[in-house]
């Protein structure tokens, strides 16, 4: 689920004292090859956080996707994860092919970050690679019998929905039955994006009444991302932080104003703004 509440919180805090290590662009790019692995890791995050999209930054981050120096005890690749996340934010399509290669990485979190960034970059050329990973959890058009947790299914499903992988809807639909609720919601979100059928939006609305705060937060992000207007009241009323409800409602509002003529407000837009005002 993206953006996760933790990330939102991080951004809000760093937004106020904007530097931490107060880097320059040149330093950050140079630090990607520093002997100090901590500096590399931080520089990759920093370049994404401040949207440094100049060619030298993109080239250096793409190179960092093949880093071998920075390893966790479990064999993970911390620098590759951060580089993959940063490249999604920089909007440079040169990163698409290298990120597709990351979908084969042995580190789950690199694959997850790559899927999320491919979603952000919006190039449908990655769809077959995403489907290949999704198919690990499938036998034909059914989920494999043993619940599979080996792939970042939520990120894959969300990317496929955003990228309008309509021809693969039957595969995506199977994940509505996945044992992990977050994965079910991602499938519902993607199915709504692919079909615009209210039944999938309503599935998310129902989830807003669920028990776990963490899941309600994730669903708020999903509903904002798909701009499902009938959810407006349920979003305003669910038990969660107002900050997250406001972000979700803003998604609904922007979806409304993208679909109307410039000089009028739809009833829905006015309703959403009134709800937002009441949550400030």
């Amino acid at each position: 689920m993206n953006p996760s509440p933790e990330k939102i919180k991080d951004l809000s805090l760093t937004g106020d004292n904007a530097d931490g290590g107060s880097l320059t662009v040149e330093q950050a790019i140079a630090n990607l090859e520093s002997a100090d692995l901590g500096l590399r890791f931080y520089a990759a995050w920093w370049l994404g956080r401040f949207r440094i999209s100049e060619p030298a930054a993109v080239t250096a981050l793409i190179k960092a996707l093949e880093d071998e120096a920075d390893r966790t005890p479990e064999g993970g690749y911390p620098l590759r994860r951060n580089a993959a996340r940063a490249l999604g934010k920089l909007g440079d399509r040169q990163a698409v092919s290298p990120l597709i290669r990351c979908l084969d990485c042995s580190d789950f979190y690199v694959r997850e970050a790559a899927a999320q960034s491919l979603e952000m970059l919006g190039d449908p050329v990655c769809i077959p690679a995403l489907i290949k990973l999704l198919a690990v959890g499938l036998q034909g058009e059914q989920l494999i019998s043993q619940p599979d947790l080996s792939q970042p299914y939520d990120a894959l499903l969300e990317a496929l929905g955003t990228l309008r992988a309509t021809e693969f809807a039957p595969l995506i639909k199977a994940f509505l039955e996945h044992p992990i609720e977050l994965v079910q919601y991602s499938a519902a979100r993607a199915m709504y994006q692919l079909t615009q059928e209210p039944v999938y939006g309503e599935r998310l609305v129902q989830a807003l009444a669920g028990e776990k705060l963490q899941l309600r937060r994730a669903v708020l992000a999903d509903l904002g991302a798909i701009g499902y207007l009938p959810a407006a009241d349920a979003i305003a009323q669910t038990l969660a932080e107002n900050s997250l409800k406001l972000i979700s409602l803003k998604g609904l509002l922007e979806h409304q104003v993208n679909h109307i003529t410039p000089s009028t407000f739809s009833e829905g837009a006015i309703k959403v703004m009134n709800l937002m005002d009441s949550l400030l």
Binding site: D16, E241, I247, K250, N258, M276, D277, L280
Partner: protein, 239 residues
């Protein structure tokens, strides 16, 4: 049973709640009772990291109203920013001008965006009739200056909140400070033209629509002394 006994029972239920659902129910009941003695307990509930309980407590504090203002101002929790945001929301909902300095400072300088957002909103919901007439102009000018500044906050949601308050202030000062009104309309127009956030720009446009009767007054009657135009347009927000 008198109010005091009832308050004790309901307060104890909050203190003894041993699950987040029970806490929510207990705070809702205490809030619904609308008893002044509940104020400290309701304020404490703002800091329990239970959004449902906090919403109920804020509603309860707003319903209690003026009696909750000094305790809120005294007990605003300086280290828990979650609780501080809820307390500011309660003050904003009550609209008492005693909270003005707290709201101004929070809106301009607090590090937490949810506190700045709630405070920015509160600056637009002040009950101006509480202000002595001789102070009204200077206080409204102070709020205007603050809102113009806050409407440039780096966080979209704070700018959004500032817009809602610029909207209500524009309508209020059309009567009291008509020569300042153009500062609001100019700022809104600038935001519409340049704000990076579509949600904020949309809210700006909505505010402009609501303020419009006052704008017309300026556009169509530029030669009349502005003070003369206030009476016929009072409450003229018919749309």
């Amino acid at each position: 049973m008198n109010n005091s006994d009832l308050a004790q029972i309901l307060i104890r239920a909050v203190e003894e709640a041993d699950s987040s659902d029970r806490l929510l129910d207990a705070v809702q009941e205490l809030a619904a009772a609308g008893i002044e003695e509940a104020v400290p307990t309701l304020i404490a509930a703002l800091g329990y990291n239970n959004p449902g309980a906090a919403v109920a407590a804020v509603d309860g504090l707003i319903a209690i109203g003026e009696a909750a203002v000094s305790p809120l101002l005294q007990l605003i929790d300086d280290y828990n920013y979650g609780a501080r945001a809820w307390a500011i929301r309660a003050l904003a909902g009550i609209g008492d001008v005693r909270a003005l300095d707290t709201l101004l400072e929070a809106a301009k300088t607090d590090f937490s965006l949810s506190v700045r957002r709630a405070a920015a909103r509160g600056l637009g919901t002040l009950r101006w009739h509480q202000v002595p007439p001789e102070k009204l102009e200077s206080i409204q000018t102070q709020v205007l200056e603050a809102l113009l500044l806050i409407s440039q906050d780096p966080e979209w949601v704070v700018r959004y909140a500032a817009v809602t308050s610029l909207e209500t202030l524009a309508i209020a000062i059309a009567v009291t400070l008509p020569d300042q009104a153009s500062r609001i309309t100019n700022q809104l127009q600038q935001m519409l033209d340049t704000d990076v956030d579509l949600g904020v720009r949309t809210r700006v446009k909505f505010a402009q629509e609501k303020i419009q009767p006052q704008q017309h007054q300026e556009v169509f009657a530029p030669k009349r002394k502005l003070q003369d135009t206030e009476v016929p347009h009072r409450g003229g927000g018919r749309r």
